[in-house]
Every structure is written in structure tokens, then in C-alpha cells.
Symmetry: C2
Subunit: 557 residues, 2 copies
Amino acid sequence: MYYEGDMMTTNVAETMAKTHKAISIAEFFEKNKHLLGYENLQKSLLTVVREGVDNSLDACEEARILPDVYVELQKGTTGDNKFKVIIEDNGPGIVKANIPKIFGKLLYGSKFHRLRQSRGQQGIGISAAVLYGQLTTGKSAKIYSRINDGKTHIYELHVDIQTNEPSVVGEDTVYGSGHGTRIELNVKGRYVKGKQSIYEYIQETAIMNPFAKIVFVDPEGEKFEFPRAVEELPREPREIKPHASGIEFGTLLRMMKNSKARIISGFLATEFSRISSEKAKELCVLANIDPKVSTTSLTRDEAEALHDQMQKAKLQNPPMDCLSPITAKPIEEGLKKELAPEFVTAVSRSANVYSGNPFLVEVGIAYGGNLDQDGSVHLMRYANKVPLLYEQSACAITKSVIQTDWRRYKLSQSGGSLPVGPVAITIHFASVWVPYTSEGKEAIASYPVIIKEIKLAIQEAARRMGVYLSRKRRANEVEERKAIFRRYVGELAGALHGLTGKDEEKIATQMSELIEEKLKTMVLVEEPEDSGHDAEDLKDVDNEIPDEDNGEKEDGE
Amino acid sequence: MYYEGDMMTTNVAETMAKTHKAISIAEFFEKNKHLLGYENLQKSLLTVVREGVDNSLDACEEARILPDVYVELQKGTTGDNKFKVIIEDNGPGIVKANIPKIFGKLLYGSKFHRLRQSRGQQGIGISAAVLYGQLTTGKSAKIYSRINDGKTHIYELHVDIQTNEPSVVGEDTVYGSGHGTRIELNVKGRYVKGKQSIYEYIQETAIMNPFAKIVFVDPEGEKFEFPRAVEELPREPREIKPHASGIEFGTLLRMMKNSKARIISGFLATEFSRISSEKAKELCVLANIDPKVSTTSLTRDEAEALHDQMQKAKLQNPPMDCLSPITAKPIEEGLKKELAPEFVTAVSRSANVYSGNPFLVEVGIAYGGNLDQDGSVHLMRYANKVPLLYEQSACAITKSVIQTDWRRYKLSQSGGSLPVGPVAITIHFASVWVPYTSEGKEAIASYPVIIKEIKLAIQEAARRMGVYLSRKRRANEVEERKAIFRRYVGELAGALHGLTGKDEEKIATQMSELIEEKLKTMVLVEEPEDSGHDAEDLKDVDNEIPDEDNGEKEDGE
């Protein structure tokens, strides 16, 4: 029955060899669609909308156009779990030749190979939405693109699953002015309201992208408008070169092979950020290499020595203009516009670095107004301006909020939970490379330096809210006391009139004035700010042990 | 500053077009290596070993060879976080022409396109290990393959990251008999002992693959042998056709297009499991289609109607010979061999189906012996015979164990925790397609039917352990009573001798015999089995709401 020793013939290996073949990335994701956000009908519909809107906003920002984005969901004609999703923008449009690959090929795009902040990073999102649509409804996607050349290019296409190449089933050109892109997708999904809904996603997007106008028409035909709150785009992020810290040895070898630089010091100075010609020569000398040696003639041992020196070197942090923060003012405007709170504040921190990647954190806090009085605060998490709606508990943002002592800032909180109160908190993590815990792109990994930055931003914003709430509480107390005095002014004045014979009216007026005067000064007394505690709060941050599953990524080595 | 309306020129779109390009899957995973298990140095080293051992065991089983697997870790010469990993097997070997692609191209393999149980399923594992090695150490992988044709083929190769094609740097053929594959990889990693270690992985593999012999040499040169416990391989799984239930419409269209069958009823009968010619005709009639119509001339509406009928049809479950259970006896042997417990039992359930995929559950329980008296039970999770060492709490197996009431089976347990006691539990989930919660392949998604099957298997095995523990407890009680009686036999006999004048020795003997006789029957009285409760335990299983993040996959629609 079993082949023992030499009894096995070569036939077995040869038979098995025949079954081997290549798997296209489209086939792979067709079978593993849950890895890309297509886990269930509700989330799948959201993912389709999200991929479209993210692409629209990225395209507009890159072309420096204030975005107008239109999202419409139509009920399908067959079955109540079919939808037609339409997403249209006023972006630059896409040149004809590139349309098929952008929408019909997985792993194709402009964002993967460059280091600068953008919503998309993989070149999978929108073509995966096309793939999901064709898989669940058998229908191709329809794309309209105008690049201001007086034409509209129309494509009907889907992904050829076996080759991962676009399969164009229809093509047309009509005349039409303007610029922008429109995509129509037929997909299976489930439309819900409330938590983790498309409405929630769009509203949260509107809050953190206040420079965008978004219109959403739901499957019932109801139209929701999210107007622009600010008329200026965030600053344009600049592409940066990789930073030497944390670069893998294999990557260094590959860069060396592909570089146009001929000598090793030139290679270092041109291919990495924060390595000057001087610094490059210094690194070569430390590694015992002639700085003028050709990149191709470096031995393996020399390259390893150089890699060691690059890791040990104290290099300046990478330049931060690769990031595009929203900044405090627009965050406040976004919160005001959508939530109409009684108090709002926002903090935009300066940048820091994890594993060689620049990042920064921005926090907005809104209090009162229409916000829910009962229950936990409404936490809105963002990565590169995109709302994260799933996997809340696995995210570094949530952990940072929970680990903050909110009682210090006048909110109630029980251990290990979100604070309670009529508060909305937006936390924005911006980076050239967001360290998601999975392809689902729903939670940020808990690097200690990331947690620390988020906490510092929270504390700064929360302290301001705390001051506001203290003042408000004291103002309320004063008002209460005034009310008590006022209640007895008439009675007292009458009694004093009886005792002294003075004019009752006059006594009452004088007494009222006295009370107002007295209590006016009361409300101006400030409670001291308890900033002394914040250092305490961060004491352990540097020693924090990352989580087993998502925190230790990259290992920092 | 911003382009408004027609002010934007086509240049913007054209400039942006130039930045678009294809991304190879190797580049994608280089940048996202954490998605494949390369999250930190400890886990990365484990992942490399795991990919190699899984491949070896799959190859041996497929060729029907009792596996001999040799794993060696050598400390690297440069730096204490570099290792040389060697994995060698007595499998069928790989024919020369296929070696480069199997080890040097991601998404290449034999397991992706067929429906039958195997350890690997994606064709990514071993080439990703090669990629990880070259990335972290800059070194190529070395592969030796013998297919019993008197030669050993040797390749040195790595993955060309930009093309995802193998890059061969060395090639040699030497003479040598036998068959098998050996791979040598240089990788960055961290070697640990204890929990989530390579030793733990290999020991757990040895337990659930009792037909394999594994030798492991650790970086200190210490050699551990895990001998074979049974001399027979599990049954060979047969490839099955897809089941019609849960098939996506887009997939149906694609199958129709690619099928060799010319008429629609023939297509249904040949491409799906459990659709006979009769049933195929019946489905066509229900969908208002002529069973003899050509697959290519079917309209979209007709195809949709057919898809509907296929989903509604009551079809037999798919055939179960695509699964390869270990079965109860070998599981018990594996536990005995590695843990030397005082009691062992195992259950191998018959197969069930989730989303059209056959699966089955096997549970082994070992009690006492060298097992740790204090602390939680030692839970070992397996998917297709591979131990799962990470993400324990996210896994359907862990949830099922926690939701079981172990106090019924004589173990202590506090709510929401694993039970406590000197117990090892192995739970094996076998399927043609394991629904992992992520590419990390460390946790199984919580489909209700999966949870239900695991619980039933646990209950059956745990009940036997409960009976054993009850008996043991009663036996202990009997022994205690005997001891008490014995202590007083002499005294009593003396007293009776004084009273009756009979021979003291004789009285003592008779009394002892009486006690033994009396207590022997005591120990044979069985406590009734509390099987009545088990139904209660499963009452809510069918209504169970799957978890937000991993349970709702596929949605069952």
C-alpha cells in the first residue's frame, strides 16, 4: 500500500507535477474575498461604496480639485439583496488608455510604489469591487471618464479571473464637457441604517474631509447633502525617499541593484532621505568600504557591514511634508457642521516616526448639542481621512482612548471602557503607510509610539474640554444660587421693609444688584488645570508591551 | 490654486496616468509580509518551519508514503537573530522542471484549484518563506530534490520580486538514490522555548500526525525525536466537484463558459456534485429552460433563473470522502505517545457541511500523568492536521470549549474561561476549505454549524472522561474506607475474641474478606450518565449570532 524506500517510482512525482499550476491574484481574492472586506452582505456593500469614495477623494486631492462626490444606491430589479451603486466625482478623470487596468486588474495603481499619504495604498480596492460585483451579480462595471478634452469615454468591463487582466465588453465615446469619473456597479449587499452603515461612513467622511461636498441618495430615493465646511484643500503631500532605519537587508540589495547611482556613496545619498553626501561617506568609512566603490562590485560582507552601519546611524527623522494633515480649524468646522455641538476643539500634533514611517495624530472633540446624553462617547476612528467602522476593539486608537483617564476631564468612565457623555471624538491617524492589523484595513496596529502620540493628542484636546466643562458647571452653580436668592428677595425685602421702614422696592433692587455683583466674580475664578497628572499617565507608555497579534509587527529591528 | 470647472486641463489626468503601473504579488507581500505570518521575529521563524513541515507532510500523504521529517535550526554566523532552517522529508520529491516555480513564485501550486483536504491551500506558503529569507538575509534558498531516478537535483534560487518569477542563481545535479525534498533557508528570527515555540508546534504536529516520524534539532544542537505511533496513513482524500449550494452567480457563469459540456443539463450533471442527470433536467424545467439548450446560448435571465433554482433545490450533502480524518484510535495513540496520560479518549464525528463545504471535527482528551495539575487545560487547536498557535481567543474552537459546561464532566471552570485541570484537549477541524479568519491562518471563523459540531464532539469525549473521573473518585473513596476499616480490624477482632472466645486471627481474616467483598460491589455501581443535559447545552446553538468580524462570512446566502 505504501511506497517504502526504493519501491516508490518516479511516476508518483511525475503525476503530482502535472497538477501544479499558477494561480492568478484575481482567483486568489475571488476565493478569499473576505480578506478584502467582503465578509458578509452588509459589510460588502459598505466596502464597495468606500472603495469608490476613497478613490474619488484621492483623485481630487491629487489634482488639487475641491471634491464634489455623488453616491447613489438603487435597489436592484431582481431580488431585494441586489443594488446598483453609483459613485461620481469632479476629479481629473482618467485617460482612456488607463481605464481598463485601473478598474479591471487587481494590483495596479499609482500609490503602491511611492511614499506619501493617500487613502488607497495597494492598487486592489476598486478592481476588487468590480470583481465582487461580477462574482455576485454576473454583471460588468460601467465607467465614465472625462478629462476635459470634450469627450466622455465609456467602458463596460470586468476582471478576467484566470488572467487578472481587464475584459472589455463595451466601449463608447460621446461628447461632453468637464472632468470627472463615474462608476456604476451591480452588487449583492444588504442595506442597513445606524451603526456600521453607509450613512455613518459618509457622515464620518464628511466630518474629516470638510473640504469635500458629498451627496448621498439612499435606496429609498432619499437625498442627504453633506456640504463643504471649508474652501481649502489640505496641503499637498510630497513624495519622500525611504528612510534607512528599519530597511531590510534584502531590500537594500535590491535597491542597490536597481539604482542608477554608480558609486556606493552616491547611491546612499540619492536613494535615501536624510543621508547627505557627507553622511554617506561617513557610513562607508564606518563599514570599512571605499565610498567610491561601484555598487555592483560590493561584496556580500561589505553590503552587510554597510547595512549594519545604516541601522546604527543616528539619522534625522524623515521629512514630514509627505503627510497631509487636516489641521485643527477644518476639523472643528467639520464637527460643527455635522453635529452642531455646543463646544468643539481640535488638536493637530506634529509628526513622529514608527519603523521609519512618518505619521501624525489629530484629535477633535465635540460636546453637547444634539449629541446623545446617555451611553458611551461616539468615537470616530480615521486612517488617512478614511473612517474605520469595524474591529474597533483591536485598534490602537480605541486602546488609547480607553487607557486615558477621562474623569480628569469631567467625564465619567469605568475601567477598561470608553468614557460616557454627550461627546463625539474624532481621531485621525495619518501616515505614508498605515500599519493595519489586517487587509480588512479596519484597525491600526498598537506600536507603543503610536499609542503614545494618540494619548498626547487626546490629553491636549480633552484638557480644553475639561476646562470648558468646569466653567460650565460653575456657571450652572452660580445660576442655581442666583435663583435661590431671587426666590427669597421679595420675602426678605418685605421683612426688611417692616423692620426698617425703607422702601421695599428699593431694598429688593439693591439686594438683586448685590447678588449679581457677588456671583459675577465667582464665575470668573478658574479651577487650576491639572496638567501635572498627564506626565503620570504616560509614564509606562515607552515600556508598553505590544499585543501578541498585531503589536509586534516589524519588531523594530 | 484649484482647478474649477473647465479650468482644469487634460494635463493633470495625463500626468497622473504616467504614475500608474502594475504591482507584482511578490512586491505586495514583501510590503505586507505580516499578512502571511511574518509579523515579528519569533512568529516569522515559526512560520518558516511551519510552511516547510506542512509541505513535507502534504507531499508524503499525497504520495502515500509514511512521513519521515527532519527539522534543523542552525545559528547564523552573523548576528544572533539569523538562522539557517533545514527541512527534509522522504516524500516523492519534485520533478526538476517544477522546482523553480514551486519555491520561487508566489501563487503557484497544486492545491488551490481542487476541492479536497490538504494542509496547504493557497500556493503561497513555501515561496513566501523563500521571499522572507531573501528579504531579511539577502540569501537565496537551496533545494535538493530526489525522485528515485538516481539523481539529486540541486537549485539555489529566490523570488524575483518585480516579476514574481523564480530567479535561479545556481543549479547542479549529483548522483544519489532515494526520494525526498530538502530545503535550506537563511532567515532572520528569534528562537524561543515554551508557548508558541517551534518545539510546541512540532510536538503538537506529532500528536495529531501520529503516522509521521519527526526529528527536530534545536539551535543548541539538542536533538528531539518524535517517533511514529501508528503505521498507517489516514485515508486518502478524494477530489470532489463543487456543491451547488452557495455558489455565486458569477462563478456559475464562468463555469458554464469554461465547461466542456455542450448542453445545460449535461453541464449541471458533470460539473457539480450531487446533481444527477435526472436532477439536472428537473432544475432546468423548474427554471423554465430546455434541458437540451446549449450552455452558450443561455440568456442572462435564464441563467439567473437556473441559479435561483440551484439555490432553492434540496440537494444531498456533498460526498465526504474528500476528507481525511485521523480517526479516534490514532488520535489516542498520538496523545499517549507524547503525553503519557493516565486516561485518554478520542471522538471522530461524521461529516457536516458549512456553506457547501464538507467538514468534520475530531476531539481527543488526555487526563493525568505528566500533565500540569494546576492552571487551565492545555488546548491544542488544529486545522487539517496543522496546529494553530496564535489568535486562540478569536477561534471557533476556543469559543466552543469555553461555552461547554465542564463542571458536568468533573472539571472546575469559571464563567467565560477554559476549564482547569491536568487535561490536554486536541480539537481537529478538517475541511476542503478551512474558513480562516485571516491570511495568518491561525483561527477558524465561528459559523454556527461549526460551533455546534465542535461542541457535540467535545461533549462525547468529555462525557467519557467524566465517567472515568467519577469511577476514579469512587475508587479512591472505596480505598479510603477500606483503609479505615483495616485500621480497626485488629482492635475489633480482639474485642470480638474477648466477647465470643472465637479465634482472633480467624475473625480478623473473615472481617477483612467481608470488607473486600462489600466494597468491591460498591465500586461497580455506576453513576447515571447525565446525557439528558447535553441537549440543553446545544439548545441555542442553531440561533447563535455569529461574531461581527469573522462569523458572518459568506452569509449563507
